[in-house]
Symmetry: C2
Subunit: 322 residues, 2 copies
């Protein structure tokens, strides 16, 4: 089958990659659509030292499974595969299993392929009302929803999202949908204004924020150390910074300043799929408008080049049927 592989040095389009064989607990999936994420681009720069088939945002059809009720189901799937027996897995928290494998990121082949395997426990059936092009946003939308499991926003609390790309836009819709009424975006892409929630109060270039603006909560979605530094400078005393994006390498910080200002820094990763699917069904999210281009899997190298262009939003890959 066709598959897009990263060998640690470069991307390679394999045309005779072996078809994966599902275990008794897994389904064999035919991939219908898959999304390129910032994490995929980070892996190309060495993140996690991953090698293998990339890709973790996808919509697929079950083509083989020990449990026949799954056959032909159109599905999305959670990306963390826990060991099933450690203390985290025992508490139902395989997302933090210390020996977990993560689809297309850590120890397990991903979804930029014609076929892939995934544990049935990770699958979520898609309602007919959701198109593939909507449903492919389930995983990043779930990551945005994770914030609402971790923090509660007070009424009238001023909130900024730093980073106005794909993730920042999804986070803005999630927070607006939760009733956050004093919400601002900060970034370099005012041209994407039609994708912002209607209730957004403003958009600022990070260097043009007025002196007297500060925020009780800042969600860091920029994928850059500069966004993290901006958040530390603009958060109010006793404020919170939610870290959503990963960026490589170390940055110097002064923990004494966090003590004096009593700041909270909150790391935030994967989120819940069921509420994400429900939100995609019931809310008016501009996810289809966030698709910059769809490429066949055979053009994956072009697709990756496009995804790395400044201002590109979601780039999708559509594996061809045989």
């Amino acid at each position: 089958m066709r598959a897009l592989l990263f060998n640690g040095q470069q991307l390679q389009l394999g045309t005779a990659h072996p078809l994966p064989q599902p275990t008794a607990q897994e389904a064999l999936l035919r991939i219908r659509l898959a999304g390129i994420c910032a994490t995929d681009l980070a892996i190309l720069r060495g993140y996690k030292g991953f090698t293998g088939v990339l890709g973790h945002e996808f919509v697929a059809e079950v083509v083989a499974c020990a449990d026949p009720s799954w056959l032909q189901a159109r599905v999305v799937g959670e990306i963390n595969c826990g060991c099933g027996s450690c203390s985290f897995c025992a508490r139902g928290n395989g997302n933090h299993c210390l020996s977990r494998r993560v689809v297309g990121i850590q120890g397990r082949d991903g979804m930029f392929a014609q076929y892939a395997c995934l544990p049935v426990a990770n699958l979520h059936r898609l309602p007919d009302s959701l198109s593939d092009q909507q449903a492919v946003f389930t995983e990043p939308l779930a990551a945005a929803l994770r914030i609402t499991e971790q923090i509660t926003l007070a009424a009238g609390e001023p909130v900024a999202i730093v980073g106005d790309g794909r993730l920042g836009i999804l986070v803005a819709h999630v927070l607006a949908h939760q009733g956050c009424a004093d919400l601002y975006m900060v970034g370099h892409h005012p041209e994407h204004f039609s994708l912002w929630p209607a209730s957004l109060k403003g958009h600022w270039h990070p260097e043009q924020l007025p002196e007297d603006f500060s925020f009780a909560t800042i969600i860091e979605c920029s994928g850059a150390a500069s966004g993290w530094r901006w958040a530390l400078a603009k958060v109010q005393p006793q404020g919170r910074i939610v870290l959503k994006s990963t960026f490589p390498g170390g940055v110097p910080v002064e923990p004494a300043d966090w003590v004096v200002r009593e700041l909270q820094i909150i790391g935030s990763r994967c989120g819940p799929f069921a509420p994400a699917l429900s939100l995609l069904e019931t809310a008016t999210l501009p996810v289809e408008k966030m698709i910059s281009a769809i490429y066949p899997l055979s053009d994956a190298l072009t697709a990756f080049a496009h995804a790395q262009r400044k201002g590109a939003l979601k780039i999708l890959l559509a594996p061809e049927e045989e």
Copy 2:
């Protein structure tokens, strides 16, 4: 009057420092006893660029006040003096007033003197049952209690305190008193075992912790970057690090790791005085045993040298009456 001043370069014992004059909202205090804190030692190394009379842990007697009900009262006092008019002060949160002055730390003379002024709003009367040598621990004990306002410990949650000096010992007693049953201390001073709470489950040298030990919550009380690094290495996924101690300078961190592990970092500074006084009255805290020495104010330079010795616990200064 006598007062211990820091001029930005060195400590100086002034013998003819002018007597402070209270405003209509302030009381004039005669200092009975004052404690040297790690923050005082940090100021000598340049922390906050403070110059003036040092000292913020104290017990005093009110000797002049516009409100006669305070006269002759034995008191302790909160150290943050807000502007009274900003949005933080309006919410009763002068601790985080952006233009606050802080006794002996920022913009306001401290308590290593025979006399000092403090706003009446900052004063707390002492019950007769508390000795000066107990009550002088009110401020650091309040700082330890601040943790319990910020986080709730789950039953059976493993907690480590890194840093087994004065602050670490007070934090241990506060957490033990709150029912924390899986509590460990980490540091270089096993010789202080008689000061630990009876329920402490263990004490470890930071480099001798068994491989398979990790903690859901770590309270950083070490005053050193090494304690912070230890906490980041030993905290469990989805765990919390409460930063209590300040240490100067920047340290490199990898925020991406905090995202993946979903860590929470919580800065924690000043705490509530009323619960601290109540705890000093009702619990059996070994605070008097934590006093390594009491020096007259005229021997303050010797006292500071003692406070900087490894393993020294609380060093107190007793200003002489005229």
